[in-house]
């Protein structure tokens, strides 16, 4: 079943050299493509947020190598065929009292997408849908 809720992998890494390269090589070994990613740093450790083409398989592959990851629900807003889509989406979410925790953009072929993590993804999909803004479906990843 198609869904507008995308599973993002949040991969936890210590702030030490070579860790990111290690993770990329693990994913590559399992033929998993990283579509988009964003690196966040807490004072304690780094969090690599990644959209991959097969999150469940990637999760298992990482776990097997002792790399800790969690699955996080995000939504993706198409930016290109609707000027001002991001602003409209943010505005609608704000009015519906949904908090945006973070977001990151990425472009792929001719598409530009903004991935957003909100505190209530299900409600967010509904609110944004009502605005006529196109959302990425998980089958497109």
């Amino acid at each position: 079943m198609m869904s507008n809720i995308i599973k993002q992998l949040s991969i936890f890494v210590n702030n030490e050299p070579g860790r990111l390269a290690h993770i990329s090589s693990v994913l590559k070994e399992c033929n998993i493509n990283m579509r988009a990613f964003n690196l966040a740093e807490s004072t304690e450790f780094g969090i690599l947020r990644a959209i991959v083409d097969n999150p469940d398989e990637a999760y298992d592959a990482l776990k097997l190598k002792g790399i800790i990851a969690k699955k996080t629900d995000v939504i993706g807003v198409y930016l290109e065929d609707h000027p001002g889509a991001l602003f409209m989406a943010a505005d609608a979410l704000g009015k519906a009292n949904i908090n945006i925790e973070y977001g990151y953009a990425y472009s792929y072929k001719d598409k530009a997408i903004f991935f957003i993590r909100v505190d209530d993804p299900v409600k967010a999909v509904e609110v944004i849908g009502k605005q006529g803004i196109k959302l990425v479906s998980d089958s497109e990843i």
Partner: protein, 415 residues
Amino acid sequence: MQLRLLKEKVAEMYEKSEFFHKRMDEAGVKPEDINSFEDFRRVPFMKKADLRDNYPDKLFVVSYDDLVRVHVSSGTTGKPTVVGYTQKDLDNWSEALARGMTSFGLSKKDMVQNMHGYGLFTGGLGVHYGAEKIGATVLPISTGNTSRQIQLMQDLPVTALAGTPSYYFHIADVCDQMGVDIRTATKVRKGIAGGEPWSESMRKKLEERTGIKTYNCYGASEFYGPMFLECEEQNGLHLWADLAYVEILDENDQPCKEGERGAIVITMLQKEAFPLIRYRIGDISAIDWTPCKCGRTHPRLMRISGRTDDMLVVRGVNVFPSQIESVIGEISWLSPFYHLTLTNENYMDNMLVEVELTEEALTEDMVKLNKMSNELSRRLKDVLNIKADVKLCLPGTLPRFEGKAVHVTDKRCYD
């Protein structure tokens, strides 16, 4: 009976040991002066430094012909200590452990996977002979090679483990990684945990994770090796009154009130080759004299709550690592692994506490992470009365120890 054994031991040592004779003379005490436990307190202490100063064998009171084994303890500071054993010493040592194992239900029906190090360290051979004495089957695997440990505990009918607390946690971590559930994949239900102190909350966490009921074991190579164990009540280590006389003393070397914590001072009542009289081991605990629910009348030594010498002074405040351990133990989202680092800048002390989050509690939510970090900070300050920097670490990233865990790194420099 204890008093008779004490008197005999003192008289024997006065005659045989040059070291002891000299110490007694210096203190102005003669063996015949000792007619009560109170008199016995006039006998001078033995300390770790005495053992080091008399390296390697000046404290032995039998010749090498009568020794059947020696063990050498790792010298964490300076010279190691060499301990000799006669056959009777080995028999009494095994007897102490055999009684302990029986007291929590081990028998010839059990198979014990002994994950303590064999060799110069007393843990391996001590547990080995104790378990054989009760007729149990011993798997003498020693430490290390964790995946093999886990394989064998699945392949063989192992019912009990013996190892250090931190190694149990390491086993649990690796089991998780390998997808092995100890409860269903093995028959292991009991464990002997010794070689390093740990808290009651750490024990609970381990038991919940693995389903292994763990029984504390206490000892030191200076005694024989590990020799006191908890019974099925898991409420203190039964002190075998025919083998050891244990005093608990306060800062002024006066006996503590019943149940009060103080320095452990031990006298080995039947040791032949390397006698110990009023030895200050440096651990802190208390004795519970009330009868145990198991029916045994031997008094119980409570959990070791620290060292007489592990106190840290940070910004003029006394800090015990056990205080930090207890705070961590109370917080459900933290694992028991922590490390304390002390540094100073312009003579201002700084304390960093690194602790691992549990895998369940780990989150990518920065706000939550901040909240957790602040909560830990606040709770540490409440207990320690000084501020500590805290760092939450990823599960499985702080060092695991197969021997004694090292929880403190003091990098302070005073020149």
